[in-house]
Structure formats: C-alpha cells, structure tokens
Amino acid sequence: MAGGELGTRVQRWFLPAVALGLAVLLGLTLVGPRRGRSEVILATTTSVDDSGLLDVVIPAFTAGSGIAVRVVAVGTGQALAYARRGDADVVLVHAPEAELEFVAQGHGVERRPVMYNEFVLVGPAADPAGVRGLKSLAGALERLAAAAAGGASGRAGGGPAPPVRFVSRGDRSGTHLAELDLWRAAGLDPAGFDRAWYLEVGAGMAETLTLASERGAYTLADTSTFVAWRSRLALEVLVAQEPPLKNPYHVIAVNPARHPRVNHAGALALIEFLTSERGRAIIREFGRERYGEPIFRLEAGGQVGPP
Amino acid sequence: MPAPAFRLEGLVKSYGGRRVLDLESLEVDAGSVWAIVGPSGAGKTTLLRLLNGLEKPDAGRIWFFGQELTAANGLPALEVRRRMTMVFQTPVLFTATVAENVAYGLRVRGVDQGSVARRVARALDLVGLAGTERRGARSLSAGEAQRVSLARALVVEPEVLLLDEPTANLDPANAAIIESLLRRASGEMGVTVVLVTHNLFQARRVADHTGFLLDGRLVETGPTREFFERPADPRTRAFIRGEMVF
C-alpha cells in the first residue's frame, strides 16, 4: 500500500521534474557563458593544433596578458574562410599564396612570420624507387614517378621489387600545394597519374602519414607532424632538400575595418606575443624534451620584420 | 464408450505464489458443448490455456481423447495440438488479407494451394463474410474480425474448439451470429466446444453442459438446464441470481 502510494508520488513528480530539468538546461544554453570581450578567436590549422604547441604557447600568453584564446583548428582553407566571414579574430596558417591573396583582398592585416618547418619526402626504409639521399625533392618525385610507371626500379637484389606508391594530401592544404608545385617543377602533372599508385587521400597530415605507413608508400610531409608521429610509423625521411624547402607559418589579424566586430586589440596582442623574444623562446624549445628535437624552427637572427 | 475429449485430474496452476486454478476432476465428452462460467479472475482463461497446452500445470494431468496431453517439457506434440484450435477474447489478426488469415492453419499443415482457396472460401461463407478474401484484416470491424477468427479456427476442421469470451467485446447482433455458428459447428461438424464466458445467458443458449468456476475451483457442473434450474450449491444459486459472491 505504502509502496504503491510512493510509486504514484514518484510518477507524479517524474515528468514535471524532467521538464524542469530540460528547461533549466535550455536556459543555461541560451544565457550561459558567452564569449567574453577579452577573448580572442584564433583560427589555425590542425597541424599546429595536433602538435601540442598551442597548449604551451597560449597559456603563457593568457597568463601574461589576461586575454583568453579560443582555438579553432581546421583546414587552412577553412581557417581563412572563417576569417573572411569575420568569425575569427586572428589566423595562424601556412599557405603563403592564399595568405597573400587574403591580405590583398583586404581581409587581413599585420601578417607576420612566426615559425617554419621543412617539407621532406618520407617513405619505407626499403625505398623501392631508390630516392634516398637525393638533394632535390622535385628530382626525387620525378624518379619516383618513373619508377611507378616503369614498374621495376632497377635496383639490385633478389625478389620482386615492392610497388612504388605515393600518397598525396589531396586537400588543397599548404602541404598539398607545395607538393603540386614540386610536380610542376619536375615537369609532371599529377592529374594524369594512375590512381593505382598515386593516392589522393583528402585527409590531414597524420592520417596521410598513417596511410602511407600502412601501404608502404611515399608521401611529402612536414617535419613537425612527422617528428611527432615518427614512433608510430614505418617511415623514414628519405629526401631532405638542400637548402631546405620551408613551410612557413604566418599569423594574420583580421582587418577590423572590414569586420568591425572582431577583437582586434586581442589579435594584435597575440601577434605581438608570438613574435616576441619570449614567444620565440617557447616555440624554439617546444618538443625538444619529448622528441629529442624541436618541432618548429625559427629564422636565424631573431629579428622578425614585417613581410 | 469413446474416450472423453478432455479428462482432468488434480489440476493445479499458480502464478507468483497465488493458486489460480485447483480442479479435482472434470470430463468433457466428445461432441458436447461446455460453458465454463464464473466471475472474472476465477481462472477461466487459465483453464483454457492449460487445455490448449499453451501453459503447463504445476500438478495434475490432462488427457485429450485418452492421450496424456502434457509433454515432459514444452508444448504438447504437434499432432495433438493440431486437433484443436482456439479463439481469443480480443480477435488477433495477422497483418495480412482476410484470406491469408483464414488460410494460416491450412498452410502450416501443408495443405495444397487449391484446397486452401476452396476451404477458405467455404469457411468465410460459413461466417457470413463470403467475398471478403482480399480485404485487409485491419479494415474489419470488431465483429467481422471475430468472425474471421472463428472461420480461421474452424477451417482446419478441428475436433475441439476452445473459445475465451468470444463475444465479450461485440454488439448483440455479432454475438448472436457467433453463437449460432457455435451451435452449427457442434451440430453439423461434431466439434467439441469449450466456451469460457461470464455471460450466463450465453451459456444457457449455447451449452449443453455448464460448470461454475470460482476462485480457481469448480463449484458445480452439470447439464445446462439442470445447472440453471436446480443448482445444488448455494454459491451457484447466488451467482445465477446475480448476487455478489466474489
């Protein structure tokens, strides 16, 4: 009897309680914590975010300035698209041509170099195309294409040679655009390549490296991602160009004249910090402890001038 | 003397510790029409489910035409089960046409296509629904649905037909049709009928034997006329007069 009474009482309260709970949640969503005035939205690429650099740099910046940063990590194209719509205050990307176009169209100001890494050709240790030790990336790609088309690479040794494959980012990222430039320099057009050996993945650097590792394929990689992922990959650096093929990262503030609602002061403060001696020191040391070498490099001399 | 359609002995069934059925003995002669009356909760439906083999008794035995009904475990043997059919209180129809519903019992018995169509048509004609073969079962009224259920149960020409309050949810006209069909099934086809009902008038109209079930026990059984005109037990008398005994 008492149990039944309790049961109905619980039932009677159950629905209103759930409804109230939902209403409170909805209210919190609508009036809850919003973007503070002092917060800066940084749109950057997944390669920067995946490296873990921002987990070190941003807290240091916030501690000194009191400005919170919300990091949105997307593709370079998407980061610039956010900025073009005024949805971000500042971008940190690595696609020089797209960046210059972005600035030329009046969307960005205060473009400054922050750091760079290097593009290298990585591949299986067996190196079926025989490109190890070459000093030109374009030359290596040319030899690779020939080996893939010709089948055998002409190397000495028994057994059938493993197939030569190349994995392309295929996502119009900075790395992909650099790769296309290299094919052009080699006098080749990837559009005509056989898809059996030239795989366009349309994915991030880490996914692309994983796929190349699984398939025993070559790919063009940035050293930052490669160093961070090396322990999980059956790949090694086969061609590092002399002088290095740099992959520079620039920071750009979204133009407040074009997008009045952006947090321009916060954006400038972040740019200032990233190019300051203190910011440069953090970037220079990042990764040395964990991977034995820094993830990103800085131009020698320390002076970072305007573009 | 042929074996009775059902012979029960010491039948006990409990649910969750509550004894819902406790029958000392009962015999249902082949070809007879039995009505089991009683208030709701008396154990009428449980009795039918035991007779049909859908449930097993906790104790006691059931003989079906002289053959022990209850198997060691699970359902009674298929050949035995196929000699009887059952009509439930709420007509449950398959989501299919009327013809497919009526044909079900024939199909599971592997009857050939030609005879199926012929027998379905005849059964539908019997229940006054000739020509409705292609209608969807969902489009039927409650009365039509119950008549289809009856056609579906009779089409396999069972020796025993069990009915659980078949007219409880029906209007008087449809109830009358069902009742006359039961009399015809008994008279023309020789089907043994066990009808569970709380409707005393129905028992009086249809059955030749009536039993009164109260709190899981058979209080009194007898030929229907005697049962109603000279009940021996005071509780039966009270129930027949419509006095509350439960």
């Binding site: 194209g77 998407q78 610039l80 | 298929l78």
Partner: protein, 222 residues
C-alpha cells in the same frame, strides 16, 4: 551549391563514383547487419536464453556507439600492426563496410528486438493455437514485425550513410578509392568551400530520400 548540382546533372563521373561508393558501402553494411541483426534481434526477443536481458541492454548501449570509436576499433584490428593486418584491408571499401556494420548492427538488432517483442506473445500464441510449429510461429512473429524491421533497416542506413568519423579513419578518404559523400563534404569544408560542401550535402539528402522512398514502396508492395 550550384557547382555540386551542376556536376551531378552533368553526370560528372567522379561525383557519381562518390555517390555510388557511398550507396555501396552503406548498403552493404545494412545488408550485412540485416543478415546478422534481424535473426539475432528476433532470437533475443523470442527465446528466453539466459543472459538475454544483458545482451539486449548491451545492444541498446551500442546503438549510441560513436562512429569514430567504431572506426578506431576496426582501424586497430586491420592496421599493419593489428591482428588482421596481414589481410591488407585498411583503407579499402571493405574496411569501411566493416566499420559501418559495427555501427548499424546494434541498431538493426536492437530495433528488431523491440519490434518483435511488441508482437511476440499474442501472435505467437495465436499461431501455436492454429497448429503452427515453434519455428512457424516464430517466423510469423517476425513477419508481423516486418514494418518495425523495415524501419530498423532504414534507421541503420541513415546512420551509415550520414556518418563521417569511421569511414574517414578506416577509409582514408582516398580519391577514387574510398572517398564517399560525407568525407567529400568534410574535405570541401576543411578547404573553406562551404558552397560545394552544402551542395554535396543536398546530394546526400536527395540520395537518402530516394533510397527511403524506394524502400517504402517496396515494403508496401510486399
């Protein structure tokens, strides 16, 4: 948006390849799930197996499995260092089918279970009382639950065709090999080509609608 629609009507072979691969991968995943999940769900609903309640609870929980997690499991199993690495299935449509099957199977099993259970007792007893064998009665219950099972298959198809995390991880979004509609949309979005992404999204919805319409037409007829 106009770009994607233009490509579609102009029968652009690459776009059509992507659409067909999406349908092929998700359709195969649903087919596999139907072959395994419908009998499994029906069995769980119809037979009192010890532990069936726990299996059912586990199945319902897996209905909320995050696609990326399903992808990760398949990835680890199929990767070169995984137990099935020698099969070299990673970054193939087969791997995508496996990952999506992992997502769809619990849905088909769980919804079949619920659908059959709602029909179970009354239909089964009716069939038995009309002389059906246990198997015939069970089959009748499944037949009666066919609409629920159809809805389960469509829900599974919807989840498969719309998910991106698992196919991205185990398929790799390789152009001409493992690129499907969702990964193509993701790729365009990451490049900032929002219009093309939306256009592809509309194509995806149109394809899903066409599949649903065809399925329900078939089910009504059956």
């Amino acid at each position: 948006m106009t770009e994607a629609l233009r490509l579609l009507v102009s029968l652009d072979p690459e776009l059509w390849g992507i659409v067909l691969l999406s349908l092929g991968v998700s359709g195969t995943a649903v087919l596999l799930s139907a072959l395994l999940g419908v009998p499994a769900g029906a069995a769980l609903a119809l037979w009192e197996v010890p532990g069936a309640a726990w299996v059912a609870r586990f199945t319902y929980t897996l209905m909320g499995l995050p696609p990326i997690l399903a992808g990760l499991v398949v990835f680890l199993v199929l990767s070169a260092r995984g137990p099935l690495g020698h099969l070299q299935l990673l970054f193939t449509p087969t791997a995508m089918v496996l990952a999506q099957t992992l997502l769809v199977l619990p849905i088909v099993t769980g919804l079949t279970l619920a659908g059959v259970r709602s029909k179970d007792r009354a239909i089964r007893e009716l069939a038995l009382s009309l002389g059906a064998t246990q198997w015939q009665a069970a089959w009748r219950v499944v037949l009666e639950a066919r609409r629920a099972i159809g809805a389960a298959l469509m829900a599974g198809f919807g989840r498969a065709i719309a998910e991106v995390g698992a196919v991205m991880l185990v398929g790799g979004n390789v152009r001409g090999h493992t690129r499907v509609m969702t990964t193509a949309i993701l790729l365009e979005t990451r490049q900032g080509n929002f219009e093309v992404a939306i256009g592809l999204g509309l194509v995806l919805l149109a394809v899903a609608f066409a599949v649903n319409a065809a399925f329900y037409r078939w089910q009504e007829g059956a």
